[in-house]
């Protein structure tokens, strides 16, 4: 292990800008890493080797000509395969869109281009971002660089695995119920879901439109801050994007957090012994101590409607998870209706008798089990006669969950919680039990329901050498505070590197 791929994105951009190194060199090193590792990990669905090198050359030429190519000068970045680009394919890891080429580029990706980034390729994911392990990819699962027998998490599993294994300097993912934070936690990197509406969703293939948010995955908090600054901002193409100015997230990221009030939602881990794996609990407890030592004030708060219940058999349940799976499935059942085999994407090759059969065969042949399950759940939840019992009730619970956060933030500045109940699980371990799979998002879902920013960062390793994630959640538009709090913790923790990366270059 050596060279440019070990540099943070921030450092690499600075070195490329100053002429210390070149974008071509960095890009080539990342492409080499992909060649070496991606056969084992399967993080990428598509790699733009030639285009990336061409782009790197352009950036180097700009620098040579004395121009400023932007804050991400020549930095090789990967994007999740649900972000539309006019180049390559945009598949959402679905057989339905396997050959789909988008006629436009997502706003967030356009902003990366404008900031000088080099796009390396598109990362694997759970099909249409539905899943928590990337095993629902319509192509092949991605593996965790810490243990290739384990999942990288999901749905942005490809992005997380690529970042952790140094196959890109940073990546974009999307987070609907934890799809950035959970895989970042499983793979030992930083994952940030900004406030709902902070980053334009234009060009992000919709799953749960009221929950979806694009965000960065990086190896350092500063990298996450850098990327967030680049991709954020109002977009006239997205009526839900926020008009507020984007602050400089790097401006006070190194400012100590003395006096910051950190709330511990008792429902998340204080009350429930069984809801967190012992190693994770220990790491989080240690993190709380670290924050105390940094001068933070720790306060107990309550999020009653995000409560986790555990029954006599040890089975967990939560209002938030139930509410989430009604809202997101209802929205996805409508969002995915456009994949009908008529206008683009997969159309059945069989003879069909009428339009209905064309729809059903095209969809049946190309959509995966989990996607079909959620479409059916959502269709049911919206059916006449059930709307009030399910969807409408879920909206009310959602409001209560959001109100809890507002209440909690009266006595603290940010919240601290685990990112996931356990570390990365084994491939196949939960595929037969969707409900258990859904529960791996139990700590991340509430932030999506309330539209709040949440960040995960590494908080050490478990006894079996797997990364543990620490999650911080803040009020609407508290990105700067969250990033600063995360950065201060990061400074106290030694960086973690997957063994396969450590051993690969010697």
């Amino acid at each position: 292990m050596s060279g440019l791929i070990e540099l943070s994105a921030t450092q690499l951009a600075a070195d490329i800008r100053s002429g210390e190194t070149t974008s071509v060199q960095a890009t080539q090193e990342y492409l080499n890493a992909i060649t070496k590792l991606d056969g084992k990990l399967g993080a990428y669905n598509e790699i733009y080797t030639d285009a990336a090198l061409d782009r790197a050359k352009q950036i180097d030429a700009k620098i040579a000509a004395g121009e400023n190519p932007g804050p991400l000068a020549g930095v090789p970045i990967a994007i999740k395969d649900n972000l539309c680009t006019t180049y390559g394919h945009t598949t959402c890891a679905s057989r339905y869109l396997e050959n789909f080429q988008a006629p436009y580029t997502a706003t967030a990706v356009k902003k990366l281009h404008d900031a000088g980034a080099v796009i390396l390729g598109k990362c694997n994911m759970d099909e249409f971002a539905m899943g928590s392990s990337t095993e629902n990819s319509g192509f092949a699962p991605t593996r965790n660089p810490w243990d290739i027998g384990r999942v990288p998490g999901g749905s942005s599993g490809g992005s997380a695995a690529a970042v952790a294994s140094r196959m890109c300097a940073a990546a974009l993912g999307s987070d609907t119920g934890g799809s950035i934070r959970q895989p970042a936690s499983f793979c030992g990197c930083v994952g940030f879901k900004p406030t709902y509406g902070r980053v334009s969703r234009y060009g992000l293939v919709a799953f749960g439109s009221s929950l979806d948010q694009i965000g960065p995955l990086g190896r350092t908090v500063t990298d996450a801050a850098l990327l967030t600054g680049v991709i954020s901002g109002y977009d006239p193409h997205d009526a839900t994007s926020l008009p507020n100015d984007v602050p400089d997230y790097l401006a006070d990221i190194e400012t100590p957090i003395k006096g910051l009030r950190i709330g511990l939602p008792k429902e998340f881990f204080l009350e429930n012994e069984g809801a967190i794996a012992p190693d994770t609990r220990a790491a989080i407890t240690a993190a709380i101590e670290t924050y105390k030592s940094l001068g933070a004030e720790i306060v107990d708060v309550s999020l009653p409607h995000s409560r986790i219940d555990i029954d006599a058999d040890g089975k967990m349940s939560s209002f938030a998870v139930s509410c989430y799976y009604i809202v997101c499935t209802a929205e996805c059942s409508s969002n995915l209706a456009r994949f009908d085999g008529v206008h683009y994407g997969h159309r059945t090759g069989e003879n069909v008798d009428g339009i209905l059969e064309l729809y059903s065969k095209s969809r049946k042949e190309s959509l995966g089990e989990e996607v079909k399950r959620r479409i059916m759940l959502g269709t049911y939840a919206l059916s006449s006669g059930y709307y009030d019992a399910y969807y409408n009730k879920a909206l009310k619970v959602r409001r209560l969950i959001a109100d809890d956060f507002v209440e909690a933030f009266k006595s603290c500045d940010i919240l601290l919680a685990p990112t996931t109940p356990t570390t990365a699980f084994k491939l196949g371990e939960k595929t037969d039990n969707p409900l258990e799979m859904y529960l791996s998002d139990i700590y991340t879902i509430s932030a999506n329901l309330a539209g709040l920013p949440g960040i995960t960062l590494p908080a050490g390793l478990s006894s079996d050498n797997l990364p543990i994630g620490l999650q911080l959640i803040g009020p609407v538009l508290s990105e700067s505070t969250l990033l600063r709090a995360a950065r201060m913790f990061e400074k106290t923790a030694p960086p973690i590197i997957p063994p396969m990366v450590k051993n690969s270059d010697t």
Partner: protein
């Protein structure tokens, strides 16, 4: 024929779909234009590419609110967008953006004229804004084409209460609505271009021997002319009565509910359509991509100011202020622009009576030939004002004014210049007129004698002499002056 024992009441409610004449579509910035080659007014948004998002066209909301306010609807402070989910090839998203439980406009009414000269108020239940679908094209052999030019065009759906009780009332309501949306300039309301489409809900309440029977409600889908609207309602009246007569207990709303029928224009009959609508569950869902629309008083007031005077108010004013008959006032208020020209001419000092005569004389005749409104023949306020003033000043007589009128429409010229160039100005030189009068008297001693005798034929001969003078002046002598001089000479 209706049995003398039966009292049959026709009950009709009407849904009218009005395509709004915004420059761009409802949720993207593609051109909203009828008749362009297929799939030329499309983009990633209206073809529903993955990842695209709708952005509301605020002008379409303005237009819809204008209609709502003009219909005296409540336009609430809060309205939102909902998804109506269903599959059809011309609906690429798999859902239509519409308004479900909180429409933009609700509870208004429209006054319609009845044959006996009275008015009737038809209540409007709601008017909501939605996007139109594309069009399936079955002209390609062995395939179905989909044209998405129309997909996303703003569509206002105006739903009446079942307040209409005759074919005439249905037609009156539909035509009044057409006049209103044209008046507000929010739609061209051109039937041939599909700007207005009708869906009447029709049934009968029949009273026989003190018992009232209700026939099943029939919704006739997608009518796009007044003729088919009237035809469908008239046919349903007849059909439902006949069906009911066969089985008064069985052919009932309670037993058969609601059904959809289509209208066969050629045969003039309605035909049964498979009942997919009612079997359909649209799974309405508040749209998460579009923020709710919050409407305040300032917004409503701005639109009220823009709406200005409404047709019925203006008609009443014309009767009152200009002393017009109902018929003339009504003819001048078919559209806003014609009255606007009239009002500005009067404001500029022209005599209202003379202006009205010009507009409803040659103006209406030309408009009739061209099948357009009087304003659309191209007359300007300046032309009308000048010509009316020339008439008042005796610069032209009525016959000459008509000639000037035609020419000024044809050439867009100024009336005085036209009258001068064509020698249509009245001669005001008394010496010249005197000369013509003297000549006429000298050349027609017989007529002069008859007049002097004062017999029965006196008036006729006087008219003859008048005619001779007018002829000599080629119509340019002012008749009143000629008459005066002749009388002086012959008395």
């Amino acid at each position: 024929m209706i049995d003398t024992n039966d009292k049959v009441q026709l009950i009709v409610g009407l849904e009218i779909h009005v395509e709004l004449a915004t420059k761009t579509k409802m949720f993207c910035r593609c051109r909203n234009n009828f008749g362009d080659p297929p799939n030329t007014n499309v983009c990633a948004v209206c073809t529903s590419m993955p990842g695209t998002l709708p952005v509301m066209n605020a002008l379409a909301v303005d237009y819809s609110m204008k209609v709502g306010l003009a219909l005296d609807c409540n336009v609430p402070d809060y309205t939102k967008w909902d998804r109506k989910n269903y599959y059809y090839p011309d609906l690429p998203k798999g859902y239509q953006l519409s308004q479900y439980d909180l429409p933009l406009c609700e509870h208004g009414c429209l006054e319609i004229p009845l044959a006996d000269g009275t008015q009737k108020k038809i209540r409007v239940l709601r008017a909501h804004l939605e996007e139109d679908a594309g069009k399936n094209n079955h002209e390609i052999p062995g395939a179905t084409g989909v044209d998405l030019n129309r997909a996303g065009v703003p569509l206002l759906e105006i739903v009446s209460e079942p307040d209409m009780n005759s074919v005439e009332e249905v037609a009156g309501y539909a035509r009044s609505m057409q006049r209103l949306v044209r008046w507000l300039d929010v739609s061209k309301a051109n039937m041939q271009m599909g700007h207005m489409r009708f869906e009447p809900n029709i049934n009968l309440h029949i009273t026989r021997d003190g018992t009232t029977y209700k026939t099943p409600i029939v919704e006739v889908k997608n009518l796009n002319s007044f003729r088919s609207l009237e035809g469908a309602v008239a046919y349903e009246f007849k059909r439902q009565y006949e069906e009911w007569q066969k089985d008064p207990e069985g052919f009932s709303l309670k037993k058969l509910g609601k059904q959809n029928r289509g209208f066969d224009d050629a045969k003039g009959v309605t035909v049964f359509q498979r009942d997919k609508e009612d079997a359909h569950d649209y799974r309405y869902l508040p749209d998460p991509d579009l923020p709710a629309v919050i409407i305040d008083d300032a917004w409503r007031e701005r639109l009220r100011d823009e709406i200005g005077e409404l047709p019925l108010a203006r008609r009443a004013r014309y009767i009152e202020e200009y002393g017009l008959s109902f018929k003339d006032a009504d003819a001048l208020t078919q559209d806003a622009a014609t009255g606007d020209i009239l009002d500005s001419a009067v404001k500029a000092g022209a005599d209202s009576k003379r202006c009205v005569n010009l507009l409803l004389g040659r103006g209406a005749a030309i408009a009739n030939e061209r099948e357009c409104s009087i304003a659309d023949i191209g007359i300007t306020t300046e032309q009308l004002t000048e010509l009316a003033k020339m008439l008042a000043d005796g610069d032209v007589n009525a016959t000459a004014a008509n000639k000037v009128f035609d020419k000024m429409i044809e050439t867009s010229g100024a009336p005085r210049e036209i009258a001068e160039a064509d020698g249509l100005l009245a001669v005001k030189d008394t010496g010249q007129i005197q000369q013509w009068v003297d000549d006429a008297i000298a050349k027609n001693p017989q007529a002069v004698d008859i007049i002097k005798e004062g017999g029965k034929k006196k008036e006729k001969s006087f008219g003859f002499l008048m005619g001779q003078v007018m002829q000599a002046s080629r119509g340019a002598a002012p008749p009143a002056e000629v008459q005066k001089l002749l009388r002086e000479k012959l008395s």
